[in-house]
Amino acid sequence: MRHLSSLLLCLFLFAAPALANASEEVRSLLKDKIDAVLMLIQDQTMDKALRDDQIITIITPVFDYQTMAKLSLGKKYWPTLSQTKQEEFSDLFIERLQQSYLEKLDLYSDEKILYGEPQTKGKKVYQPTTLISKDSRIDMLYKFYRAAEEWKIYDVEIGGVSIIQTYRSQFDGVLSEGTIDDLLEKLKTDGAFVIPAPDAEAARAGSE
């Protein structure tokens, strides 16, 4: 009992300042993750498959993939699915998100990232960043919410385009005309073609 109360005291002492400084916490959390990913990308000697695995291991704790999967279908569709279909959808969707993230990393290599002032909105914290690449600046907004005891990303906006929002409207389009099986089929097959590497030869092989 004494142990429990001292534990609670500890939790209280440490949790209170952490919450008060939520935005700072989110910024350093994101920065640590991105720095770790950038370090891996800059290591040219590393095997790509191994590197990709490590990148996913780094970012997985900070992305709330399950919630992203639910949000992408929304309450209009998610609750109507059986648990098996929910799981099948989530697996496919999460795989797609991760592959998409890795591919985007392949497209950029020498970017610099600026971190803006985090904006607190209730239980949510938005962390704006700017990605400076060779010839452009792209605003990226990482949207965090407080999940249990951690901050988790539930959406990312790239140049104002919300990943979840665009998936929602696409999925809504498919589901309003077809069934969940149609959508699952599309998630399995669509986009299965290979993305060209930036160098010319590999790219030509991958074009339509």
Binding site: G74, D135, T166, G191
Partner: protein, 267 residues
């Protein structure tokens, strides 16, 4: 130095007419509220493992869904998206890749900066029209620095040495700034996704684009194509990647475009 008034009285008054006509419509345009409507939990319609946090997050996306993109031309738009897709894969991409294989990246980046430098009058004028004189001033200073020290805009010393970033604005954004909605979505041949407002906005902007003042129409076209090829050569793989991510590419491009423009207008 090009001054915006030097484009001629007739053209300027056209801009003003468009602006004034558009302004008259802004009073009726609904504004987006910041506060999401409180979300009512209906436990019986949900699986039990869904927690309350997710409802709060859900509300954010439902709010956005209440303003669907107006798309009466979706049939035509989908066809034109296909046409543009083929033009990209069959013409623009192979040409850009060939060009990129021959011309070093450093040169292509410099050429891209020079073309962007030339569009200063568009950014300057639209910043002024949106009553952002400081940004307009920055655009002028950038133009002077980059055209001289930066050698015809090939370099960007204004950003690199003076920390002065460009403030891209176009007439579509200016109209949006004054509350004009996008109107219906329309996919333009070659140019891709747009909407009624932004398509109309191209007209006044074109008067501020120096390339339009090249007399010989063949040269003018060649310069435009070259600019596009140069830009594409620096972004090979991005279009493909977006296409691969999507389940319904047309819907993705359409909604992505409209969301992106909203963001640009907000800045």
């Amino acid at each position: 130095m090009d001054r915006p008034t030097s484009i001629g009285g007739a053209k300027l008054s056209l801009i003003l007419i468009v602006l004034v006509t558009s302004l008259s419509g802004c009073a009726t345009h609904a504004t987006v509220t910041d506060q999401p409507a409180p979300f009512v939990v209906q436990p019986e319609t949900f699986t039990p493992q869904v927690n309350e946090d997710e409802f709060e997050l859900e509300a954010e996306f439902e709010e956005a869904a209440t303003e669907p993109v107006s798309d009466p031309l979706s049939g035509y738009n989908r066809v034109m998206t296909q046409v543009n897709d083929k033009l990209y894969f069959w013409m623009l991409k192979p040409v850009s890749q060939g060009y990129g294989a021959v011309v070093p990246e450093g040169v292509r980046l410099a050429v891209g900066r020079a073309f962007r430098n030339l569009l200063m009058p568009v950014r300057f004028t639209n910043n002024l029209l949106q009553l952002k004189p400081k940004r307009a001033g920055t655009e002028l200073v950038r133009f002077v620095l980059n055209s001289t020290i930066g050698v015809l805009g090939l370099g960007d010393p204004a950003a690199e040495s003076f920390g002065l970033q460009a403030y891209p604005e176009d007439f579509g954004q200016t109209l949006g700034h004054y509350g004009i909605g996008g109107g219906f979505h329309i996919v333009l041949p070659l140019l891709g996704p747009s909407n009624l407002r932004d398509t109309l906005g191209r007209v006044p902007d074109s008067y501020l684009d120096p390339i339009n003042y090249i007399d010989d129409s063949k040269t003018q076209l060649a310069v435009r194509v070259y600019s596009q090829v140069n830009r594409t050569s620096l972004h090979i793989g991005e279009y493909e990647s977006l296409k691969k991510d999507s389940v319904d590419f047309y819907t993705f491009l359409r909604d992505g475009y409209e969301q992106h423009r909203k963001q640009q207008i907000k800045d």
